[in-house]
Symmetry: C2
Subunit: 428 residues, 2 copies
């Protein structure tokens, strides 16, 4: 089987089953798994192999298949980026227009923060729910945002740990298998994908992002899950806030009808796509979502969501930074590029993320970005503000890193196109 | 480092050093070694990387560098095949013309028999010599044929065990590193390579064999070792005997001036190449070698060699088969092809080789091939004879396998060209 993939030949279904079972029960030793992962990484997999891989990974653990009991629930997945506060807004927003949302969220590792960490910033918020717990949450507040269960797709954990140390994380079929096995095991009836492209994303080029979006959607649709993907820009942070409590605050701003226009736009586009998957007219869907933000119903849905999960929604309880330190522009010009990944790492080093899996978080810490691509800046104007938490940090060095992350041009620069639409609209 | 090779980029010397050290001391986990082996297998290595790999593997253990004390000693290596009795003849033959021979031999695993197993068929023959022991053997009989020391290139054992289970054995740079690290650590001043091509060889096509020969020779010469490679045919068994004691007997026939002409020819060509590397004229060298076979001096060198190694050279002490069973041709025709690998496995299943590393051997067992490519056969004539040893075997099934290994044509077939010469002569 390893030799077949080494030579660029497709694997048979039974081979893939043996491989995934071997990862789950230890019947294939790690060095053979690693060799096959590398062969898959270099040689690739066709659509059929990718579906088989996903199916076998999905069946390595519990299959919750929520659609069996709550057929209307939708799931949303982002391929990850910086300042991606969307989930916190999308869940109550969709709940407020009557579409239940069922999501499993992960912790952050590396330069992007995880939704689970952001929810942890809310006092009392519980994320350790099982299937019955999720159904109950859906009934009580129309949304269930829970921690990735260890019982879902356990083969993915073994394989991911191996990929992490064998430089095989970027493999398209392995990414698809990892993401979609968990999505299919949760089994919402519909799935909206936010596939990000750009310097701050996992997929640095647009064609790579489009390729991933098509592959993910193909697996979902073939498994009978309604699915659409939107390609969105991650060449700069999406929302202005990078951290945990500060992202919850940013979500509240948008749920109250204000907030950052870019973050609001991506959230609305994804939410509208969910309503379209549920059979609603697109223009009508968009109008209802904007009304929910403007009229306070989405904000009310947030409070219900937090309470149902055991948390206290009072914004005053969210952790605050110990101090704020603006990082000022050094010259006049227009922002040409922002290194989102570098800013993500600054937020991590302030205490809002993890360099190692067992690092603790400083919920008051984070980074707020004030200038975006295309904006004009003057010396002395703040590009961003460091939110310094309970952790001792070298603020001077972090300021320099923030300043270096901004590329300032002498000529005007056009803002970037934010939502490129479906893979087809984006050039698939 | 793994990511670089995954993407087809060359590795740096320090990366290769870390990889090999990691294999020796366990500082790189097996799954990372396996992933890198697969990436090397698919992406390849350039000549410089291959030399670095070999060098690092060589320095993972003891460096005997025999040339420092016995500058004239030559080594010979074959890439492996069926009926390859050459080493048993070449060592005493070269010793008899005054050229010392220093070789490390391995056990057989799979369809080809190992020189070490053949020497084990000689009562009392010891192969567990250290460096001083080899020097002493060279002084006493002009030849030292010893077991591969565990202290030589230990990184190769770890890597080979991993390659074996990860389908990365066929990788050219990994083969070169494995072979040449051991040859350079032994450190004879000159090396003759017998690189076999064909259905019974490791390299099935002539271009693959030539590629391997050039790569091996390049590493040897770059390390300051005089080296030449000859490409020889392995589309049928080389010598007629496949086994242990029966191959020793075949060697004795040739050392006494008789024996199989093909086996004799390959041995003479390789031995002459060794003398040429030692500065002798080719035609003169060839004449001296033929004289040594004809005049009995090579045969005397054998007895000295066996005694010096602690063995008893009396041919009557060699194990004999319990029974012999000819396999007859079913039709009239000319032998067009012989599946040497299939015949090798028949010898293994008779007890002359190993399917698993801890299998015992039946020294009386083996197979003798009577007809070669181009020979005419008639029904009732023996194609080969099963030498049945102490092990119970299904002789009917083995006979059928032997008969199937012979492809008999209705038209005359030309014999194959046996010694194709240097890589350049063979088309490099």
């Amino acid at each position: 089987m390893i030799a077949r993939k080494r030579d660029g030949l497709p694997l048979e279904r039974k081979d893939i089953a043996r491989f995934v079972r071997g990862a789950s029960d230890g019947s294939v030793p790690p060095e053979q798994l690693a060799a096959l992962l590398m062969a898959i990484c270099i040689r690739g997999m066709n659509a059929e192999e990718t579906r088989w891989l996903t199916g076998e990974m999905l069946h390595s653990g519990e299959v919750w298949q929520l659609a069996g009991d709550r057929p209307l629930a939708v799931d949303k997945h982002s391929t990850g980026g910086v300042g991606d506060t969307v989930s916190l807004i999308l869940a109550p927003l969709l709940a407020s227009v009557g579409v239940p949302v069922a999501m499993m969220a992960g912790r952050g590792l590396g330069h992007s923060q995880g939704t689970l960490d952001k929810l942890d910033a809310i006092p009392g918020f519980r994320t350790d729910w099982d299937r019955d717990g999720m159904l109950s949450l859906l009934d009580r507040c129309g949304a269930a945002v829970v921690a990735q269960s260890e019982r879902i797709a356990p083969a993915d954990r073994t394989l991911y740990a191996l990929r992490d140390v064998t430089a095989t994380v970027p493999s398209l079929p392995l990414i698809v298998g990892s993401i979609m096995s968990k999505k299919l095991a949760l089994g919402a009836g519909a799935l909206v994908l936010d596939v990000k492209w750009g310097s701050g994303a996992f997929r640095k080029s647009l064609p790579e992002a489009v390729e991933l979006a098509v592959a993910l959607r193909d697996v979902a649709r073939n498994a009978g899950m309604a699915c659409e993907a939107l390609i969105t820009d991650m060449n700069e942070p999406l929302g202005p806030s990078l951290g945990t409590a500060c992202e919850v605050r940013e979500a509240l701003s948008i749920l109250e009808g204000g907030g950052d226009p870019r973050l609001r736009e991506v959230t609305l586009a994804l939410a509208a796509e969910a309503l379209v998957l549920r059979g609603q007219d697109r223009a009508d869907a968009r109008r209802r979502l904007e009304e929910a933000l403007g009229a306070g119903t989405a904000r009310e849905a947030w409070d219900r969501l937090v309470r149902a999960h055991g948390g206290d929604p009072a914004p005053s309880l969210l952790a605050r930074p110990c101090g704020e330190m603006p990082v000022e522009a050094a010259r006049t010009g227009w922002v040409r590029a922002i290194d989102a990944e570098a800013l993500g790492w600054v937020a991590v080093d302030l205490g809002a993320g993890r360099r190692r899996r067992d690092d603790g978080l400083a919920h008051g810490a984070g980074l707020v970005v004030h200038r975006r691509i295309g904006d004009r800046v003057e010396p002395g104007e703040a590009l961003a503000t460091l939110l310094v938490g309970e952790r001792p940090v070298d603020a001077g060095e972090l300021s320099r890193r923030v300043r270096r992350a901004f590329d300032i041009a002498s000529e005007p620069v056009a803002p970037r196109r934010l939502v490129l639409g479906t893979p087809e609209a984006a050039g698939a």
